[in-house]
Amino acid sequence: MRTPIRVAAAMAAAGLTLTPAAALAAPSPSPGAATVTKAGTSFLTATTITAGQPVRVGASTGDHLYWSFRADAGQVHEIGVTVTFPKRRTGASTWTVDVFDGLRRRQACTAGAQTPTAATAATSVALGCTLRRVRPWAEPWSGDPLPGTYYVRLSVTDLPEPDLGLPIEVDLLVGAVDEGGASGDDGELAAALVPNTRAGTVLTAEPTPEPVAEEETDLTGWLPEAGSRWVWTTVGGVLAAVAGVAGFALTRRPRRR
């Protein structure tokens, strides 16, 4: 009788250790993904990449390189960057990888070397940043990570001036771990944080009032979606009732045959 319980306990322990290990594993390129050889130089010109797509681009020391990727609710993203220096440099330099959301708000890194310093003799430096888990909804006043576009900016923040303009090679990879758990019960963002990049127009007059749209009621709108708290709790109630009957039945004296 003891063996199954021990196995179950061991499995629970394995399950507990597996989850953080999976989240912290170094991102690896997805098979068959084409290597991107470009980088933008501003928020508006950022090169779009996807998670698992490797980037390899040559640049000059001092360039500010931008990439953007799309994030969905429940995902945890990890960014890994390696900067290689083919030429001799005159001094140590400090590099930084900054991440911004679609509203250009700075995003915190929960792990990773975000601003490492490369010694004078170093031939490469590795940077990393693990983002917070993307929430399905947050109040407008909060700075929580939300679904939408994310920008990665690689720059050198401190270096001896003569080193500016020297060639570098940049390797970047964004990895995504989908931890799920994004349900409509916890709110939903009506529109993802994807910036509007069209040129604006200055209005000359106040916009005319718009008639209120009548809210349409739909029968399917009342049904709870799969995976919502209503479904889980109802299933739990049914299971409890079945277990109750089963428990009751266990206490009955076995019938004489």
Binding site: G62, F100, R104, R106, P167, D186, L189, R198, V202, V212
Partner: protein, 379 residues
């Protein structure tokens, strides 16, 4: 350009070879022009030497043979009128709503100031047309590097020190590619005011403006109920500033009450400092906010004021005019109401707990029943 210090070849021959390779690899749809400086006048008169810049290939789809022939005939002379060449190149590219990129390749510093090429670059960038100058120094010395860095920084461009023909070719190709990729509509130019009243009214989109040190720039956005305002701002550091800086974007009601703010600060070398905010009118249940009665069935837009301010400090000798480039994006989307989730649970742990609770209840009920039936029989 005559110095033979790149792989034992003269700089001009390296530049010519690089150009030939770039022209060969150009996609057909790329519009390119070539302008040279200090290439024809062989005299000693500075006044005349400093006017020496010509457009040898007009801007348009490239005629490869013509472009190569024009580049092959170039011979370097003494003067380097960088400022004038930049100004003329900007004219060559004309005005329009798309981004223009100039690639400046030189091996020597400007010998014709005034005009100072860096001031020229800043002035061109402030003229409304979106213009980016990428600079390439051929075996540059300290003076050239400083000057090219200043030009690149003033326009949001890049600077590269090319020490070999391969580096030069690769970089020019990359810049030409980038120019093609970023050939998009440039942001609309807007002129923010010093107060919310009379500030420009903005529709969703991207705008560009200039803001001086410690200046406040106001804009207005009409937001309907049920809409969410999203705004972000980037202030570019196009000149030397003190190492610590910040930018603040606030949304206020017309009466000056703050609704929400976005803020970011930093220190060290960077290109832009950005902040953003979200705000939705639906969340606000404040009847006093809209004093004028609105006819039923009609939703009037509320005005939200946006103010951009910065905490940059100029370094000694840094010019304050024109202001630093500001990029403002405004978007209006459907508001996301707060979730009114039921007080229920979710997940496997919940199912397990409920099942165990049911089992225990059933067992207890069964045992109680048995005990009760047993006592009842005995009596």
């Amino acid at each position: 350009m005559r110095a033979r210090d790149i792989d034992g070849r003269s700089r001009i021959s390296v530049a010519q070879q690089a150009f030939n390779e770039v022209v060969d690899g150009l996609p057909d749809e790329t519009q390119l022009g070539i302008r040279v400086l200090g290439a024809t006048y062989r005299g000693k008169d500075k006044k005349q030497g400093c006017l020496d810049t010509q457009q040898i290939v007009p801007v348009g789809p490239v005629d490869r043979t013509q472009a190569k022939a024009a580049v092959a005939g170039l011979r370097p002379t003494g003067f380097t009128p960088v400022g004038l060449a930049l100004r003329s190149a900007a004219q060559d590219l004309g005005t329009g709503s798309t981004t223009r990129r100039i690639v400046l390749i030189t091996d020597g510093e400007d010998t014709c100031a005034p005009p100072d090429p860096c001031e020229v670059a800043r002035e061109l960038a402030a003229q409304g047309t979106r213009l980016v100058v990428d600079t390439l120094g051929l075996a540059p010395d300290e003076k050239v590097r400083r000057q090219l860095l200043c030009i690149a920084g003033a326009t949001g461009g890049t600077y590269t020190a090319a020490q070999s023909a391969d580096e030069l070719t690769g970089r020019i190709k990359q810049l030409v590619d980038r120019a093609r990729d970023t050939y998009t509509a440039a942001p609309a130019v807007v002129d923010g005011t010093g107060a919310c009243d009379g500030a420009p009214m903005l529709a969703p989109g991207v705008y560009t403006d200039r803001e001086a040190f410690s200046e406040h720039r106001w804009y207005r956005v009409p937001v309907r109920p049920g809409q969410e305002l999203r705004a972000s701002v980037s202030v570019a550091l196009d000149r030397p500033v003190n190492p610590d800086y910040g930018v603040l974007l606030r949304a206020t009601a017309p009466d000056g009450r703050e609704l929400v703010r976005g803020v970011d600060a930093g220190s060290g070398r960077t290109d832009v400092v950005s902040a953003g905010l979200r705000w939705s009118a639906a969340e606000e249940k404040d009847a006093a906010a809209s004093p004028e009665p609105t006819p039923s069935g009609v939703q009037a837009a509320r005005t939200v004021c946006l103010v951009v301010s910065n905490s940059f400090a100029p370094r000694g000798g840094t010019r304050a005019e024109p202001g630093m480039p500001v990029e403002l994006t405004v978007d209006l989307v459907a508001a996301s109401p707060a979730p009114d989730g039921p007080d229920l649970g979710r997940g496997w742990a919940l199912l397990l707990l409920l099942t165990l609770a049911g089992l225990v209840t059933g067992l207890l009920a069964g045992l109680l029943t048995r005990w009760w039936v047993a006592t009842w029989r005995e009596n």
